[in-house]
Subunit: 249 residues, 2 copies
DNA sequence: ATCTTCAGATTGTTCAACAATCCTTCGATT
DNA sequence: AATCGAAGGATTGTTGAACAATCTGAAGAT
């Protein structure tokens, strides 16, 4: 869904005939100076592709042809190209020179690698602790997960889980760590659509998150870090099992 | 230096008149199948800019005009643009919409941020230990630093120091962590040209590296990690001092 | 002195062209 | 029949030109 929505407002039918058209994507703020960050077309293409990748509309391994995407989104091939460079730097797609761009697919080694990064940054952030607001965000993610579990909404449960781990990293207050974590989570999302894990899978995580959060709130940072580490190890094993089963298609 | 070398071999004088010219950048290997990764022009532009950034030829805050760079390197504007997207994703340049691309400059907050990332990934990698070969690489970097110090080569000393920390992260055997560390070190290189620190500055680091390496080699991973953490804290403080002095231009 | 207007420069984006490369198909050879 | 190699088509890589949108800075008006 949302696959063929044009990114440009739809006034681009015959681009050259209109001389000095009315401003298209100006969003001109008459009074203030603050421009609220109007994303460029290339960025919006990247955003759209990121969204479709996260939704599973573009499955891992799929080839992304430049001209097709350009037509579908109503932009030029060069703009798609810029978006591809960005997505490739985030490891969401892989560029094979002269062959094309493909949706990234996590192999067994990649899973371990991703979890190595997660262990590094999540444990580090947790061990350093955070402000009360930061911890409140972690707690909020735990409660969000509980609600999702009560509503038997697996999708929401997965989202809450990502919020939980995102909140842990956010405790460090580091834009760079947040950005790295965001990319890692995006990579995992890419993979998760292959295996819709059962509810018990997540239920287990839910309890772990609660325990970790409690340890954090009581100031037992080292214990919280150890718990998180164990959690990540188990999560990696779980994912590998799922991968071993689902990876034989 | 090496600022105006064209990236394309120089057969690009009149690009349209020649129909079916001889292969320009083919590097065709007659026998084998293995193509040794011929970098695209955009990648080479990014490489060249990265190099000039690391060398300090493009100082922080400097504006990089698309057409100028395109002319200097003998490539098209669109290609430069692709390179800019990549460099921006590495935080080596900053893009101001409709205003241009500027060489990134680390502010005080950025320094702390960079060190937060380093603490996370270096300590994590060190704590997990590594194979004998990995540790040998760490040791080699220490010796490299000693030689550079003996030769009073500050440049080489800085390089050896980066090798040391790179080798520590490489112990984790994680391509993603290596890539992150590479970017972080590139960011720091960008900054280091502002302050050519004195020899004693590095001498101190040299002893720390030796101590950390010894702890690692004797299997005292936790102690090595603690030492590294302390080292990074001190290094951050040092850098902030230097920044406070030199940043007043 | 402050505001507006205007021109110049640069970025953002598109388009069209072509070269280089890859993949496939189809013969030709052994 | 199997293998090899040569067209052919499709797609990527790269360029150059064009133009709209935006920013910058300077000249002019209030």
């Amino acid at each position: 869904m949302a696959s063929s929505d044009p990114l440009v407002p739809s006034s681009r039918v015959s681009p050259r005939v209109s001389t000095t058209t009315t401003p298209d994507r100006g969003t001109r703020v008459a009074s203030g100076r603050l421009r609220v960050a109007v994303p460029s077309v290339a960025e919006r293409v990247a955003d759209e592709l990121r969204l479709q990748l996260a939704e599973g509309a573009l499955p891992p391994g799929m080839r992304l042809t430049e001209s097709t995407i350009a037509e579908d989104l109503g932009v030029s091939r060069n703009t798609v190209r810029e978006a591809f460079v960005e997505l490739a730097s985030e490891r969401l797609v892989v560029r094979h020179p002269n062959r094309g761009v493909f949706v990234a697919s996590l192999e067994a080694g990649d899973i371990h690698d991703v979890y190595t990064v997660r262990r590094a940054i999540e444990v580090s952030a947790l061990r350093a602790g955070g402000s009360p607001e930061d911890m409140a965000a972690v707690r909020a993610a735990v409660e969000e997960g509980k609600r999702a579990a009560a509503a038997r909404d697996d999708e929401a449960l997965g989202t809450a889980n990502q919020h939980f781990h995102g909140a842990i990293v956010a405790m460090a207050g580091s834009p760079r760590l947040n950005s790295i974590m965001g990319q890692v989570l995006a990579e995992m999302r890419l993979f998760f659509h292959k295996a819709t894990v059962d509810a018990q899978f997540y239920q287990h995580y839910l309890k772990d998150n609660e325990t970790i959060c409690l340890a954090l709130e009581s100031g037992e940072l080292d214990r919280a870090a150890d718990l998180l580490l164990a959690y990540l190890d188990r999560s990696e094993d779980n994912l590998n099992e799922v991968h071993g089963e689902a990876g034989t298609d």
